[in-house]
């Protein structure tokens, strides 16, 4: 196991296989401001993990550090058993990255691009199969600068997975895609997961994280505010119900963990007739997410 000088050693995994990604106390500062501020994170082998957060939350920086593209200012890190800061090309070849926007030489055709970058990998996927897999088989002879936005993203993904990575980083992969293209993209990610690729993706779309991820980490203000399965996100917050009604013409509202008790009291106070506008609501996933983010950002 590799450790960084001066950083605490990582604890051994509790059981079984080591996680694909293990992060403790990750810090990154730009101009004295911490954009990543003490992130702890485990990504298990074979899972899809979504780093969910608003723009500027520190998602991209975190991913770039994990992928060995930027240096960190603090914390300890193990990705596929190595510290990315000192990792060699063998390690690099086991990791795939799909960034937000990276060029590939616009004057090349899709097939030329894929054929060229195959030369960088130890075990590249066959070019024709790769283009088939991402749905670009019909555009093999199209120049890259004539591709649509969605096709470009597919090419990005093709190049990201071309080396058959064990771990794939996707940074906001569906930003700017239309709904149909997003759905196709999700199918692609699920396919990769089913074939044994560990995926860490960032997104600011809650529905994307909920659909794709086995676990979601909500990041805000450079801190990870919660990690949970999508359905269990903000479990504490979701126990809070809001009881609303109208009394003497004025809107009333009570936030409570025991809405039944509130209702009993209301009914006892008004044994006959209807209580106007009576409702009991629990926060949806989106409400929970927005609260987590705003609390995280203001801490």
């Amino acid at each position: 196991m590799t450790t960084t000088h001066g950083a605490p050693a990582l604890p051994a995994a509790a059981s079984g296989e080591r996680p694909a990604v293990q992060v403790r106390g990750l810090v990154k500062r730009y101009g004295g401001r911490a954009v990543v501020d003490g992130v702890d994170l485990d990504v298990r082998r074979g899972e899809v993990f979504a780093l969910l957060g608003p723009n500027g939350a520190g998602k991209t920086t975190t991913v770039e550090i994990l992928a060995g593209l930027r240096r960190r200012d603090g914390g300890s890190l193990e990705v596929l058993g190595e510290d990315p800061a000192g990792a060699d090309r063998r390690w690099r070849d086991r990791v795939g990255v799909v960034g937000q926007s990276t060029g590939a030489g616009d004057a090349l055709t899709v097939r030329e691009t894929v054929d060229h970058y195959a030369r960088y990998h130890a075990t590249p996927q066959d070019s024709a199969e790769l283009l088939d897999a991402v749905g670009l088989e019909g555009t093999a002879r199209t120049r890259v600068d004539r591709l649509s936005g969605g096709q470009r993203r597919r090419l990005e993904v093709a190049l990201g997975v071309q080396g058959r990575p064990e771990l794939l980083f996707l940074d906001e992969p569906t930003t700017g895609l239309d709904p149909a293209a997003r759905r196709q993209f999700w199918t692609l990610i699920e396919g990769l997961r089913d074939r044994g690729t560990t995926v860490l993706l960032t997104t600011h779309y809650l529905d994307e994280a909920a659909h794709l991820a086995d676990r979601v980490g909500v990041i805000a203000g450079g801190r990870l505010v919660e990690v949970a399965a999508p359905g269990a996100l903000g479990a504490g917050l979701r126990q809070e119900a809001t009881v609303r009604w109208t009394e003497d013409g004025a809107a009333r509202e009570v936030v409570t963990r025991e809405p039944s008790a509130v209702l009993r009291d209301l009914l006892a106070a008004a044994p006959t007739g209807e209580i106007p506008d009576l409702s009991v609501t629990r926060p949806g996933l989106e409400d929970v997410y927005l609260r987590l983010v705003s609390e995280g950002a203001s801490r």
């Binding site: 070849d93 926007s101 060029g103 996927q125 997975v161 080396g163």
Partner: protein
């Protein structure tokens, strides 16, 4: 379609990724392909020296810079050296800042590309395009302007080593300068400006020995002066060396200065090259 998606091989069964030479070779082919698909690059690299030869050859049609030495003959040496500097130093410096701004280099970083492989790709492209450029220039000079071509192997050997050292120095200095000029926009004004000033200082447009002394001394620090002087030793008659600052062609000094710039360039590249503008 997703059943064709790649699945990762076990880490222990994954061979080592290709080395810098192998990727570098692939990059030479890529760079050449991108070069020939860029009309601006093609025209600038291949036509610019010829156009300059035509312009200056027409303006100073009947001028002799020395007994028996036509201005065109003198100018051919300067424009050949200039062509080398433009296809190497200027073109490489501009291309890298553009590729960096566009994010092309981030992709190479994510792929773990050895910087050496990237440098090999640039150098290979520059060597081949410069060879074509010089061939076109010499053919036009010889056939259209009747500039006499050297007829002994020794002079062609000089031509070869001056060109190769010039290309190498220009390429590594172009890579080096790209780390310091910032955005492609800034590079687009800064790098050509440097190139133009060097051309005036180094005796490309004017006869070097007629330039002010301080200008000659300043030019002697930079490679272009030595490249033009080396090219003069190829295309001018031997008697013309009397007009050189040292009264001789100074081949030893020329080789030493150019080699020194290659080494300085390599050291600066190795220490300062980065895939992103804001690394860290």
């Amino acid at each position: 379609m997703t059943d064709l998606l790649p699945s990762p091989p076990p880490a222990t069964r994954r061979p080592a990724p290709p080395g810098a030479l192998s990727i570098g070779w692939a990059r030479v082919a890529l760079e050449l392909r991108l070069f020939v698909r860029d009309p601006g690059q093609l025209v600038f690299s291949f036509a610019y020296p010829v156009v300059m030869l035509v312009i200056f050859g027409s303006i100073f049609a009947d001028r002799e810079v020395a007994p028996g030495v036509d201005f065109r003959q003198y100018f051919l040496a300067g424009i050949a050296a200039t062509g080398i500097m433009l296809t190497s130093f200027q073109a490489v410096g501009l291309a890298i800042t553009e590729e960096r701004d566009r994010g092309d280099l981030v992709r190479l970083q994510t792929l773990g590309t050895p910087p050496l492989a990237y440098g090999i790709g640039k150098a290979g492209q520059v060597v081949l395009t410069t060879a074509v450029q010089l061939t076109v220039l010499l053919v036009v000079a010889a056939t259209v302007y009747d500039v006499p071509m050297p007829d002994d192997a020794g002079r062609w050997l000089t031509f070869a080593w001056v060109a190769v050292l010039g290309v190498l120095a220009g390429t590594v200095l172009g890579i080096a300068v790209s780390s310091f000029v910032g955005s492609a926009r800034a590079a687009g004004t800064g790098i050509p400006a440097v190139a133009i000033v060097l051309q005036f200082f180094s005796g490309v447009f004017f006869v070097f020995s007629e330039l002010p002394g301080w200008m000659q001394q300043l030019a002697a620090v930079f490679p272009l002066k030595w490249m033009t002087q080396g090219m003069r030793s190829v295309f001018l008659p031997d008697a013309a060396k009397a007009a050189e600052p040292a009264g001789s062609w100074e081949h030893g000094t020329t080789a030493a200065v150019l080699a020194a710039w290659v080494i300085i360039g390599v050291v600066v590249c190795a220490r300062s090259f980065r895939w992103r503008r804001n690394a860290g």
